[in-house]
């Protein structure tokens, strides 16, 4: 879908996208990173389970929500990739909350 323009920085860092360690361009947003990786959707919707991808890229549409470092509902367009960041596709309302003591 998208590629880097020829002038782009070649400095890379490592992140873990859906469990897989990958090298990505430093300094870009998580949303830009997943588009560059060819990931076609970042979440499924809680209502109809449809696939959604980044739409506005400026923090107003909330379509690009992902689970970042374990926290669901993070706007991928407004967070920059960091070394070691764990990024996961969000399924619906996100991972289950702890519902038992110590569990």
């Amino acid at each position: 879908m998208f590629k880097q323009f020829s002038d782009s920085t070649t400095n890379t860092i490592e992140v873990v996208l859906n469990g897989q360690a990958i090298q990505v361009t430093q300094g870009i947003s998580v949303a830009a990173m997943i588009l560059a990786q060819g990931l076609r959707f970042n979440r499924t919707t809680p209502v109809s389970n449809s696939k959604y991808a980044p739409f506005c890229m400026m923090g107003v549409c909330y379509d690009c929500l992902m689970v970042i470092d374990g926290k669901p509902n993070q706007r991928a367009c407004s967070i920059r990739v960091k070394q070691g960041m764990k990024i996961d596709t969000q399924q619906g309302v996100g991972p289950a909350l702890r519902t038992s003591v110590g569990g």
Partner: protein, 371 residues
């Protein structure tokens, strides 16, 4: 326009009263200065709660609970009602003592619906709860519904029986000629035999016009709602000694409240969120459910409601005017009572009395306070 009964206020109390009157063949017109459910009826937390009510309200709340269990037969919609129970959690022994006392009071009155549970039962019911709690008081048949959906169902059912609603109709002037009422409004004149005051936070103004002033105070109660979450809690949660009211709706959102008052400009009908109070509320929620720390608040709002000093409503015939009735001042816990209040008013109007004990709600209790 002429009608049998003219109801001021198209919120839940007005719509329920119209419905019950229409079911018995009465003609009703309901007028409202705004759109139906603009304030308390549309923006409350939707709690179906018998738990912890004033003793005077218990006969009414028990009957209302019975009606809610079967609400579809009344309004052709389940109003999204869910009966997951309401629970007051004890965090220590003194909380437990307080709850025990309450349970004993109910038993002494002959009611069984509030039930003490110990630690084990508590965590079976709410495994997600922080481990420091020790027990609780539960009403298993309580729950919640969606207020605007309930209001819509009451209104539509009433309309199907011939009730006419006039939203965005402001009352300018009211007078009684003989025993009939004349009301001049922004949308024309209305006349009726009977007048019913269900005007919520504005009901005090109407009571003033009938020469029976009441100490009704408008306040705006704040609520906040989160993003949708995975299902993690069933009962509606309260606490024995902290401001907390908390429920997870069917769609996964959490509604958080607990008698938190916003700043209110009553004249302009403008409310302003008091973030410091909501911050305390957020802390309380995290104390009970630490796993919610990273859950996002999407909206906060405040609905305008009428409060009376003894925190129980007025449900009665006017003491100063013939053919006038009141139901207001529910002090932020009217939602659950709405089906039964409509029925009581219809009985007062058509039969001259109600089958339920409503003496404590007589407007005359404020009369002696007049100088």
């Amino acid at each position: 326009m002429k009608t049998d009964v003219l109801i001021i206020g198209a919120g839940l109390m007005g719509a329920s009263t119209a419905l019950h009157l229409a079911m018995r063949g009465c003609q009703c017109i309901v007028i409202d200065k705004a759109s139906p459910g603009r304030h308390a009826s549309g923006s409350n937390a939707g709690g179906l709660r018998q738990l912890n009510r004033d003793p005077a309200e218990i006969p009414l709340t028990v009957e209302a609970a019975r009606m809610w269990q079967n609400i579809e037969s009344l309004v052709d919609s389940d109003c999204d009602a869910r009966f997951t129970g309401q629970l007051r959690v004890a965090e220590n022994q003194s909380d437990m003592d307080k709850l025990e006392q309450r349970a004993a009071l109910l038993r002494s009155m002959g009611y069984q619906h509030e039930e003490m549970i110990g630690k084990q039962a508590l965590y079976q019911l709410v495994p997600a709860l922080s481990p420091h709690c020790v027990g609780g008081l539960i009403c298993r048949h309580d729950g919640y519904a969606r207020p605007y959906h309930a209001l819509t169902a009451f209104r539509r059912k009433a309309e199907s029986l011939g009730v006419v609603f006039h939203p965005c109709t402001e009352a300018y002037h009211i007078e009684q000629t003989g025993e009939d009422w004349q009301l001049h409004t922004s949308k024309g004149d209305f006349s009726s035999n009977i007048l019913v005051n269900c005007a919520g936070a504005w009901a005090g103004q109407l009571a003033d016009l009938l020469n029976e002033p009441v100490p009704l105070t408008p306040k705006a109660l704040m609520l906040m709602v989160t993003e949708r979450l995975p299902h993690f809690v069933d009962p509606v949660m309260g606490a024995a000694s902290r401001k907390l009211s908390f429920k997870q709706m069917q769609n996964g959102t959490l509604i958080i409240g607990g008698a938190l008052v916003a700043k209110l400009d009553f004249e302009l009908e403008k409310t302003q969120i008091d973030w410091l109070q909501l911050a305390n509320s957020a802390k309380t929620v995290i104390d009970f459910f630490p796993q919610l720390s990273n859950v996002r608040i999407i909206r906060a709002w405040a609905g305008i409601e009428g409060f009376l000093p003894d925190a129980i409503p007025v449900i009665s015939a006017s003491q100063t005017a013939k053919n006038a009735y009141h139901a207001f001042g529910f002090s932020a816990h009217g939602f659950q009572l709405s089906p039964v209040v409509g029925r009581i008013l219809s009985q007062l109007i058509l039969d001259g009395q109600s089958e339920l004990p409503i003496e404590p709600f007589n407007i005359s209790r404020f009369a002696q306070k007049k100088s």
